[in-house]
Symmetry: C2
Subunit: 245 residues, 2 copies
């Protein structure tokens, strides 16, 4: 992981495929990630077929990475395998509840991130698609996910065909708190966000969107209250459908 | 990350402290982890004080790592900082909903896992405490977490003072699926779980618990339906209290 400081999201990939051997090696090594009670509450759906990528793309707002990547991985919170194991072993499982969903989602996201760190250390490029939990029902249908399986993350994976600039990040002091939560005063907000707001790309972003502040681009266009509330309902509905609520 | 294949959870630490410089370097480097819209929806509470560890310990079922580690880190899903930024910039935030919680929890868990991978590459030992979401309300109170901040993961961190055996993991074929979900027949359950069930430590585990199968140790003792359902209610209550539901 010597390259973490130059890590960038990669959205464009070369035509070169990813061998099954390499993919499996990385997925296998990532299994050393910590997991609740060593139950490994996750499954990964590997998408390589062109028509399956075409089906998945609209669920990810048709972002071009989905069809452009040699491999798409959907990481699913999975209490089904453990539940079926229990049923087959004279045991009575009780994992059809919200805590169990969050336990499985936790296992899954930790596993996913170790996988990405390993893949990037091998020179692969990854893009994390947050859209997975915006349209879970479409993804559930396409990938035939049964009860107690819920998609929580999607990664597009390939050999990089672009060299994007490094993304800015907030100063460390803005995200750490000593002993107790240190709330954000207007002065601290100014201290932590001014550099980001002054970046040329962000000033341009505000201008082309006809907004007054960068924050308005996020609240009014990218992640709106109306969309968040509608998608919250869809997400809770999907959790019910999959048996976790 | 060359050492992923020998990675082990470490629960016992030497007396040696972790310098603030090293801790901050690792927390800073981990910021390169992908994050939704580059919003970095997380905060980390650093616990070093003995009395704060003593307060946190019962919330983690008094597991000895909490008081035994030089550093305890509580990783929190945080939409508060972004929300206060918006309010201070004439923008109207809409992140008091379930989707936003899961967005922030996702950012937080990915960040947490990169941090752990980096810390372990430096020779530090970590233990992931799943108990964080079992008793969120106690942790919220102790760490003074305000609205739109929710603890989702705790790590104890220190220099290893033990060399535990490598944990077994399921075979890769049990967690991957080609194109669509390949459901688990009784035959496949046998194929994937028999090796685990035959391990001496697991046979011993079944025996001392007076159970018939390993799965029963999980369903009847470690993670019971009754506990999961009670803790699901507490977790949903905490999400309401923090303004995410």
């Amino acid at each position: 992981m010597g390259n973490i400081n130059s890590r960038k999201t990669i959205r464009k990939y070369t035509q070169k495929d990813i061998s099954d051997t390499l993919l499996k090696q990385l997925l296998d090594e990532a299994e050393h990630t910590p997991t609740m009670g060593n139950l490994q509450l996750y499954s990964v759906i590997i998408t390589r077929k062109t028509d399956m990528k075409a089906q998945l793309a609209p669920a990810h707002f048709s972002q071009p990475m989905v069809e452009g990547a040699p491999v798409v991985l959907t990481f699913c919170a999975d209490f089904r395998r453990t539940t079926l194991w229990a049923i087959n072993r004279k045991a009575t499982p009780g994992y059809d509840n919200f805590l169990s969903f969050l336990n499985a989602a936790t296992d899954t996201l930790l596993y996913c991130q170790t996988f990405c760190n390993l893949a990037e250390a091998k020179g692969l490029g990854t893009c994390f698609l947050g859209t997975t939990i915006y349209n879970p029902q479409a993804i559930i249908k396409i990938l035939c996910l049964p009860q107690l399986v819920m998609p929580v993350a999607t990664i597009t994976l390939g050999w990089p065909d672009e060299q994007p600039a490094l993304s800015d990040r907030l100063p460390l002091n803005s995200i750490i708190h000593q002993e107790v939560y240190n709330d954000y005063t207007p002065e601290r907000i100014n201290e932590f966000y001014t550099a980001k707001e002054q970046l040329e790309e962000n000033k341009h972003f505000v201008e082309i969107n006809n907004k007054e502040t960068l924050a308005q681009v996020f609240t009014d266009i990218r992640y709106t209250k109306k969309d968040n509330e509608a998608m919250s309902l869809g997400l809770l509905e999907a959790l019910k459908q999959q048996g976790f609520l």
